[in-house]
Structures are given as structure tokens and as C-alpha cells.
Symmetry: C2
Subunit: 426 residues, 2 copies
Amino acid sequence: MTGEQGRVVVIGAGFAGLAVAKGLLGSGAHVTVIDKRNFHLFQPLLYQVATGGLSPANIATPVRSLFRGDPRFHVRMGEVTAIDLQARHVLLAGEETPIPFDTLIVATGMHTQYFGNDGWAELAPGLKTIEDALDIRTRVLSAFERAETETDPAKRARDLTFAVVGGGPTGVELAGAIAEIAHYTLKGEYRSYDPENTRVFLLEGSKTILPMYDEMLRDRARTDLAKLGVTVRENTLVTNITADGVTVKVDGQEEVIEAGTVVWATGVAASPLARMLGEAAGVTVDRSGRVEVTPVLTLPGYDNVYVLGDMAHTKDEAGNPLPALASVALQQGKYVARVLRAQMTDKPAPEPFRYIDRGTMATIGRAAAIADLRGLRLTGFIGWLSWLFVHLILLIEFRNRLMVLITWAWGFFTRNRFARLITDEG
Amino acid sequence: MTGEQGRVVVIGAGFAGLAVAKGLLGSGAHVTVIDKRNFHLFQPLLYQVATGGLSPANIATPVRSLFRGDPRFHVRMGEVTAIDLQARHVLLAGEETPIPFDTLIVATGMHTQYFGNDGWAELAPGLKTIEDALDIRTRVLSAFERAETETDPAKRARDLTFAVVGGGPTGVELAGAIAEIAHYTLKGEYRSYDPENTRVFLLEGSKTILPMYDEMLRDRARTDLAKLGVTVRENTLVTNITADGVTVKVDGQEEVIEAGTVVWATGVAASPLARMLGEAAGVTVDRSGRVEVTPVLTLPGYDNVYVLGDMAHTKDEAGNPLPALASVALQQGKYVARVLRAQMTDKPAPEPFRYIDRGTMATIGRAAAIADLRGLRLTGFIGWLSWLFVHLILLIEFRNRLMVLITWAWGFFTRNRFARLITDEG
């Protein structure tokens, strides 16, 4: 190896950051992986934790366990407070000695934002972290408990009304799962009311849910959601959120939907590090706070600094920005690992990054999904089977313990532990 | 059925309360099960959650799911604030309408107590709730992370020192599991230190750990603990706890053990309802706040009020108080269900309650345990296998999802969800 790429610092242990780090295992590079948390989170299944289908540990993998084999790999749990592109080092909160780098990878993703209405955060939690998911789980389940003791029919109806704001894949998956809980999981468990009377609204401000899919698949999604008991309302912009529900604007008319539980499945912005980098490098950030990067995914003007995943603004060949998807992040991470390995062995650099769209999929409740696999459109049970297959494969790739959990009894005989998560309260 | 036992109110969905309620399924009785939480907790495995071996959902079962089949069963999530033995009703916090009963079962267990040193609660969490377990998990795992960035050798040594206060089964299991994490699970995961240097103290104020076992088994436990790297200190009374460690008194001499993490596995007292009942009925409570009950487990003077499990002071034939064990609670619950069923069908009442000691067991880290099965003493791997067997059987009895988790992939096809817990933050 040449010394130049020798010290690689990766900020963020999401799909992109981990893919870079794993791609450098055994390469001879000294790699430091920094994350605020001690685990990688398999975000595509976070809605399952929010709706009680999975435990946090099922979709989280301790980062250290991934790199124990290579003594050149360091894992640091901490928050980056400063990046010095000239001096080439980063600083962690509460520390005085900076961590030097030759090559820097920044991939800290996105966080929830409320478009200036920060008061909504408490009323309508987003879904980005394990804590968010557990918060939503508690709210959803508590609503059914409240309804059991409520004697006022109007208040009970409000307790049994759920509003999911945002008709992207997360919103669709959440709304579907909540409807499924009400109509199937809780059947027969309450005495003062029938959970069948639960209402779930999916509110989308633009003219359609799931805009990245074609109309045929969207229509199928609408049908599947309706079957589950979800009321899909498009062209329905949320203008206010209170403890009693949401105010929406439809065709210029305001309307109040009384709802005891509101979930925010829209509005994400790049992590603050994106802005920090943009300012340091004099590079523009887009409306979502994402950094515009070069075709080889570097920060303009800094060949040794890569910005990847949800916080990078990258374009496909047609000039359209790439979506904030795990598969984009994963491919970018693998690409950068290849670039660095080529540099280390003085091989020619790979071509600029090109995203290979293998398809997108979203589940709609139990045993139904839509998938667009490069023109091959799958729906219903077949769509769901393909969704399950792809996610199980991905989970295994990230050495997640889901499959290992299946063999808990055997796992008990090994020395490993599956739930090693440091979370604030969860 | 006669009307007299018709309305049964069960306070507490622990082992005792659930056993009563399950024993009355289909009997024609109207049963209301009240608990502060929406789940039954399989407490014997709580130390596994505290040490990252299991997720909360693995050892918790939603109470409602147990009784969905019988429309005469109500489940109420709430806290009992008043019991009126004369008017025969109980009141839940925040409610105005009391819940009437003909027969009352009180079985709300124990909670952690610090013998007047309430300030210790923050420094040394106990292990009674899911939140406790997650708190301990975070503390234990964070200590290893702190040690990785600590540069002062003395402070690092403190970060890597764990003190478990109390040498009963919980203390032994916790200390063993923490030592195992340090010496096996985390092997190779840190760069600034070797987790092998971790020290785990098990501090017992009396002259022996595991007093309920005979000396041969205790000795084996001491050997097994030592092998795992646990320093067992008996006759070592904790006199103070600070953020830096614990002060102990040995042979009248005070000594400070610097420890970054302290866990409180001693000191439990009956839930406040015990005192409330005792005062209402003019009945004495013992030193631990437990109610002394009649041979048929009723509150003296109240034939229709039963006090069961950890909060009841019951004696065996020799006049010795029964230990606070899940198996005692379980047998008491089943006994009371039999009594009530006999009353309902005008059959003769069963004999007074008699505890059948089928044995006690405690695990010591991975694949080692001691078991005393009515004179049959098992140790080591065989002891552990018997422990595993008994606990898997018990988990299945309580319809826990552990085994179902093993078949997660299949479970995904059913309509059930495994992680339906309402917790504060976890």
C-alpha cells in the first residue's frame, strides 16, 4: 500500500459507511469507523420495530463485531464536532486529540425535520432511530389501551384514529402495519370496543403516494391499502398538528382530522455535517441540505474526501438526483472501497460512479407488496415474497442476527450476544 | 356457578396472578386482570436482557393475548390506588368508577429498595423491570466504550471494574454474565485495552452467597464464578456507593473498591399494596413489608381476599417462610384457582396450601449452573442443561414467544406480533 490512503476515517456506520469499511477489510488500510451509536441500524425494517413486529436487536448489529478480525480497524463511538479539511483531522465531542486522516468518508445520513414547525416533533414523532420506533410503538399501543377505558364515544373515536403524514414507502408501510394491528392482531382483545373500528389515514400533500412508482403499481398500492382499512388521501397537505389531531388543506379548504396518534413519515434533511462540510469546502448544499458531490463522489476540491449516501446529492446519467435509498448508499460505499483499493495498489481508478437500479419495493401490510424490478412489476403476495427475499438477503449481508435469532437455542451455545445495543432509554 | 365468587379481580399479572386467571378460564367467572404494564414479564430471565443476551420482547407476553378467547375476561392496564375491603371494590389511578369484586387476588410482587439510601438508586440500578434491565445493559456496554477512549490507566481500570451487590441467584447470574461478556463476547473488539483485564466483584454482606443451597453446590458456584473471572467476596457489606465505586466493610475495616459500574442485586421489599392491605385489615407485615396470610392464602379476616407470590409471607410445614420464587408464586396461583373453582361448583375446599419444592437452580455464566432438585444436585454443563430445559418449558407455559421467535420467518406469515410491549422509553 502507499501511505497516501493509509489512514481512512469513516464517519457514519450506515449502509454507505459500512460498505466502504467492509470493502477495505484486509487491504492494509488503517480504518477508523466513527458513529454516534454502537450499532448499525437496518433502517428499511425500522417500521417493523415501530409496530411491534421486531425487537430493536433484530435489526441492529454491533459495529465492533464486524471488524474484530482486523487489528488495523478501530471503531469509535462518538459524535464528530469538527472536520478540518486542511489539517486533515476530525474531532470527537469531549475529546482534545483529533483523529487524523488521509482519506475521509462522510456518510451520516439524514434526520427528521419539521419544516420550521419544531413543536410538531413532540406531537408527531418521525422514524429515524430506534428510540423513535419505540416511541411510536408505545403511542400506537397506548392508544388502544386509552380507548378501552374511555367512555365518551367521540374521544374514543379519536383514540382509535391514526394519521400517518407522508405517502412515501415509510408512510405506506407504517399505515399498513397499524391497520393490520387494529384489524387482525388485536382482534378479540378489547371489551369496550371493537378494534375493527380503528381508522388509519395516510395523508400525502402531493398529488400521489409513492411517486417513484408508476401509476399501475401505485394503483395497486391504493387498493391494497384500502383493503387493509387505510384511508389514503392525496393532495392533502398537513398545515397544523395539535394534541387532538391534524389540520389539512384540500383544494384550499382547511379541514380537521381528529386523531389521537400522529406519525411523521415525511420531511428529512441531511445531517448537520453536510452543511459543515459544504461551508468548509465552499460547496453548495441542496434544499434538503445535501452536499453536491463530483461524479466520483468526492467533495469538490477535495480528492480525498468522499460524501456518500443520503447526505450526498448525486445524479444519474439523465441528470436526475438519486433517491435516498439503502441500495444507493450501499453501491456508493462499495464503489469507494474499490476506488481506494485501486489507489492503494496503483491500479487505474474505476469509472465514475453509476447507480444500477435493481428495483424498488414497498410492503403494504401483511403479505402484500409492490415491487418494480427494472420494468418487472410484482404485486400482492408475489411482490411480498420478493420483498421478504431481498430483505432477508440484505440482513444476512450485514451479519444481522435475524437469522441467528431463528436459531436462538443454538446461539445460546456460542459466545455471542444478540442484543448489544447502547440506547438512551431503549 | 354461585354468584359469590362470580366477579374475580386479580391485581398483578405476574406468575401468581396469571396462574389464578388462567386457572379460571372457561369457569364462568368474570375475571378482571389489572396490571400497571401491558405485559407479563418472565423475571427469571431478566438478567439476560440486562446483559444483552435477549431482547425485552423475548421475555414478555402481552397480557391481553392470553385471555382473548374468553369474553368474561377483562384486562385493565392501570395502577390500583385504593382497595376498599368493606365495599369490595378497587380504584384505578385517574378513574372515578371503582371496579367491584366478589373475590380479590392481590399479587403485585416486590420492588427494589435501598434500605433508606435512596440516593443509591441512581448509582446502582436494581433489576426488577424491563427499564432496569435496559439501564444496566447500557451502563455495562458503555463502560467498555469509555475504557476505549480513556487514557489514564487508573480511570480505565475503574471503567473496567464492575461490582454486583448481593450474592443471591440474581447477583450470581449477573456477575457471571458480565464476566462472560468481558472475557468472551468482546474478545478482539477493542484496541486500547484487552477486555480480559475486566474485573467483576460479587459482594455479599452475609457469610455466604446463595444461602438457599447446600455448601457443596455453593462451593461449586464459587469455583465456576472464579473460573469466569468473578471475584466473590463474602462477609463484605456495602456501606456506601458513589459514582466512583463502593465502600465495603470487612471485619470492621472499611475498604473502597473503585468501580465504574455498580449493580444492585439485593434488597427487595413488597409492593406498597401490601402495606395498604395490611393496614386496611389490621394485619401485620414482616420486615420486607410482606403480608402474613392464612394457611389458605387469604388475608386474615377476609375469606374472599387472597394475597399471593412475593408479597405474601407464607410458611412451609416447618414454619420457615417460603422463598420469593416464581415457582412458589405459580403454585400459589394454581392453588387459588382450584379453591375458587371448588367454591363455584360447591365442592369441598382443597387442603391448605402446601409448597412442593421441585428444586432451585441458578446459572453461572455460559453453560454452567447449579441445581438442587430435591436432593439431586446437578452442576456444570449438566446443571445448565437442566436449567435451560426447565426455563424453556416455563417460557412455553406462559405462551412466551421465545420459541416462536425461533421461527420468526414462519411467524411473519401469521397475524401475531411479538414485541407488543408498552414501556416508558424502552
